[in-house]
Symmetry: none
C-alpha cells in the first residue's frame, strides 16, 4: 500500500509553523509497512486543495489529509474534497447536537458558524473526535481510501489512535519493515559508500541508505519483516566493511557511546579546549548521568589561561604557536594532571573567520588525548567550512579520538 | 510571482527529519513579496522527482528545489530534472577540478563518485557553493525559473544569501514588506503580549508577531514598504513598553550583544560552570572575534574541581550544597580571581533527570555574576522542562544577568 499526506493550512506555508502532524502519521504508516511516497502542504484555497486531492488520489492508495476542518470561513477542506470527489456535503443534525453539547459543557452557546463542521461527504464514515468539535471523515472508493483529520495536533492524535491504527491493522497486508541503523564517525560519505560496496554487490541498493551529518553518518539497513536473517547478514557485513568506524547503533550519539565505554571501565575524563570553546564538555554533559565519568573542563581561550590553568610552558607557545601538536599534547597532559582525570582530551585550532595564515589556514586543528600509563595520541586535521562547522567537526574528531583510544 | 518549494530526500519522508530548509527559503520569498503556494517532499526517486517538477512548473513561476545533489547513487535530482525539462546533463571539468581541490585541501583524494556532482543541466547557470562540493544550478525558461540547491542546511543557506536573494531582488516586482525585529530575553510570551498591548490598541494585530524560543522572543513588526514612518513609531513604542528586556535587533544573538557591550567597554569575561557543562562558554565563543573579550571557562562538574580549580571552600559545599547561592557566588569570585577577568559568570544547578530533591527539584539553578569593584549579583530560578531545556534556559538567564550587570 502506498500513501501520501496532504496538510492544509496557510499558516503552514509561513516561516513560523511546520506540519509536524505528518511525523506522527508517518510513524503509524511505517509500523504497518505502508510506504509514504509524498508529503504536501497547500494553503486554505479550495481550488488548490481539490487539485492536490485529485492528483494524489491518482497516484496512491491511501491519502491522509489534515487541517481545514475548522468552523471559520477560511476552512475549505470539506468543500474542496466534495468538489474533487464529486460528492455532496450532507449536514448531519446529530453532529450539530454533539457540538452544541460540547459548548454547553463549557457554559457557552454554540456559535452559528460551527454548524459547518457537521457537514459530511456523502457516503463517508464519520470518525468521532472526542477532543474537539470537527469529526474526522473516511471515504473509501474503488480500492482507495481518503481520511480527513483535524489539524489540531491533540485532536489528530486522538483520531490516529482510535481510527487510523485500527483501520491500518485490518487493511495493510504488507509485513512491517525492519530497520537496523549503524552510526559511523569521522568518515566522508563517499568513503563509507566505497567501503560498503560489497553490500550493494550482494543485495543491491534497495534497503541500504546513508544519511550524513557533519562527521557522523547514519547507515540504514532495512528489509521486509520476514527477512530477519538477511538483516543480520547485512549488519555483520557492514560492520566488517567499516570496522572501528562504527561507533554505535540506532539513535545513540558519539558522546553517549563514550560515556558507556568510560563507565564500563570505571574511567574519568576531562577536556582542555581552545577553539571549541567548551563544546566538547557541553556535548559530553548532554548525556544524563555524565557526572559519573566527566570531571570538568578548562576552556583556555586566552594563551595566559593555557599557561596558568593548564601549565603549558610559555616557551612551547612562543616556539610552536598555540595551534600546534606540541601545545595540544601539553594541554592534554596539563588537564589530566590538574583535574586528576584518567583521560584528558584537548583541542586547539583556528575556527575562523580570522586568525588563519598560509602555514595554518582557518580549519587547522590539533587534537590530543592523554591517558593512563603515559599513553598519548595527537591528531592534526584541516576542516572545511565556517566557524560553526570547524568547531562542530573538531568536537566530533576529538571525541572519536578518545573513543578509539579508550577502545 | 508565485513560488513552490520541492524538497527531495527519502529521509524527509521518515519520522526523524523534517524539511526545515523550507523555512529559510520562505523567509527570503516573503521578504520579496513572493507568494509561496505549495511545499512538497518526495523521496530519492527519479520518476517521482521528475513528475513533481513538471507538475509544479506548470503552476508556479519559481520553483526552489533542495536536496539530492550528493555524490552517491541515490542522489537523483540532477537526472530527474534533466528528464523533466528535456535537457542534457553536461559534465563540467572545471567543477571536477574545484571538487578535487576541496578534497586536496583536506589532505584527501577525491573519490571517483564525486565527479557526478559536476554534471550540470544544459543551459543552466552554475551557482558556486563555497561550503560544499555540489554547486547549485539555475535554469530560466519562458518566464519561469528553477533553482537546484543542495539539501545540506549550511550549503543551502550560503547559496540563499549569495544567489537567491540577489536574484529575487532583481525579479520581484512587488513592493517588499519592511520588517523590524526586536529580540527580547527572559520574559514569558504572555508577559511580552501584555506589555505590548499599547501597540495592538494603536495599530491592531496585523503586522505584529511574536516568535518565541526558550527564553528568547522575537517581536516582528512589519508594514508595507512605503509606510516607513509607521514602522519607526511601532519600534519606538515597543522599546518603551519592553525597556531593558529588549537586548538586540534582527538576527543578533544574546551572546553577540554581550560581546558588543564588553568590547565597547574594553572588559573581559570568564565563566565557571557546573550544570551547563560548558554551554555558556560555547555560546560566548560562537561569536567570531570573541577572543577579544572572553578569556576562558572552568567547567567544574565534579565538586573536587570546584574546590581545587575555583577555590570554593569545602565548608560551603558541605553546608549549602553545590547548588546554592553561596556556591554560585564563590564560583564566580574564584573564576574572576583565577582567570583574571573583569567579569565572571557562574551557574550551578540540577539539570536532571536525576539529582532532584524536594527542597531542590530538577530545574533549580543558581547563577551569579561578579565584577569590578566588588559588584555581585546572584539569581535563583526554577526552570521547567527536560535536561536540555534546563541547560538552555540556564545559559540564557545567566547571559542576560551578565548583560544587565554590564549595562
Amino acid at each position: 500500500m502506498r500513501a501520501a499526506i496532504l496538510a492544509v493550512g496557510s499558516e503552514l506555508l509561513g516561516t513560523e509553523r511546520m506540519d509536524t502532524n505528518s511525523l506522527r502519521l508517518t510513524e503509524a504508516l511505517e509500523s504497518h509497512g505502508v510506504e509514504l511516497v509524498e508529503k504536501r502542504v497547500v494553503g486554505d484555497d479550495e481550488a488548490r486543495i481539490a487539485a492536490a486531492v485529485v492528483d494524489l488520489l491518482g497516484r496512491v492508495d491511501l491519502l491522509l489529509l489534515t487541517g481545514g476542518l475548522g468552523p471559520t470561513a477560511d476552512d475549505r477542506t470539506r468543500e474542496a474534497v466534495a468538489g474533487a470527489l464529486g460528492r455532496d456535503l450532507v449536514p448531519h443534525p446529530e453532529i450539530v447536537d454533539a457540538i452544541r453539547e460540547r459548548f454547553a459543557e463549557m457554559g457557552r452557546e454554540m456559535p452559528a458558524v460551527n454548524a459547518r463542521q457537521a457537514d459530511v461527504l456523502a457516503g463517508a464514515r464519520v470518525l468521532a473526535n472526542s477532543r474537539g468539535t470537527a469529526p474526522g471523515q473516511l471515504v473509501e472508493e474503488s480500492g482507495k481510501a481518503l481520511f480527513l483529520f483535524p489539524g489540531v495536533p491533540a485532536e489528530l492524535l486522538g483520531l490516529l489512535e482510535s481510527e487510523l491504527r485500527p483501520w491500518l491493522a485490518t487493511r495493510s497486508t504488507t509485513v512491517p519493515v525492519r530497520h537496523r541503523i549503524l552510526r559511523v564517525a569521522c568518515l566522508p560519505e563517499s568513503e563509507v559508500e566505497e567501503r560498503i560496496a560489497p553490500l550493494y554487490e550482494r543485495w543491491g541498493r534497495d534497503g541500504i541508505g546513508l544519511l550524513p551529518s557533519p562527521g557522523d553518518i547514519e547507515l540504514r539497513l532495512s528489509v521486509p519483516g520476514e527477512e530477519h536473517e538477511r538483516l543480520e547478514a547485512m549488519e555483520a557485513l557492514a560492520r566488517r566493511c567499516l570496522g572501528e568506524a562504527v561507533y554505535g547503533e540506532g539513535r545513540a550519539s558519539l558522546e553517549e557511546e563514550i560515556g558507556r565505554l568510560l563507565s564500563e571501565c570505571g574511567l574519568t575524563v576531562g577536556t582542555a579546549e581552545s577553539c571549541t570553546g567548551g563544546l566538547l564538555a557541553e556535548r559530553i554533559t548532554r548525556v544524563a548521568g555524565s557526572s559519573a565519568w566527566f570531571l570538568g573542563s578548562i576552556v583556555a581561550y586566552a594563551d595566559g589561561i593555557k599557561e596558568r590553568q593548564l601549565g603549558v610552558p610559555r616557551q612551547l607557545l612562543c616556539e610552536h604557536g598555540a595551534v600546534s601538536r606540541e601545545v595540544a599534547l601539553a594541554m592534554a597532559r596539563g588537564c589530566r594532571e590538574r583535574l586528576g582525570c584518567d583521560w584528558a582530551l584537548s583541542v586547539t585550532g583556528i575556527a575562523g573567520p580570522g586568525g588563519g595564515s598560509e602555514a595554518k589556514p582557518v580549519g587547522t586543528v590539533h587534537m590530543a588525548a592523554s591517558g593512563p600509563g603515559g599513553r598519548e595520541r595527537a591528531l592534526l586535521r584541516r576542516f572545511p567550512g565556517d566557524r560553526r562547522m570547524v568547531r562542530r567537526l573538531s568536537s566530533q574528531w576529538a571525541l572519536d579520538l578518545l573513543r578509539r583510544e579508550v577502545l
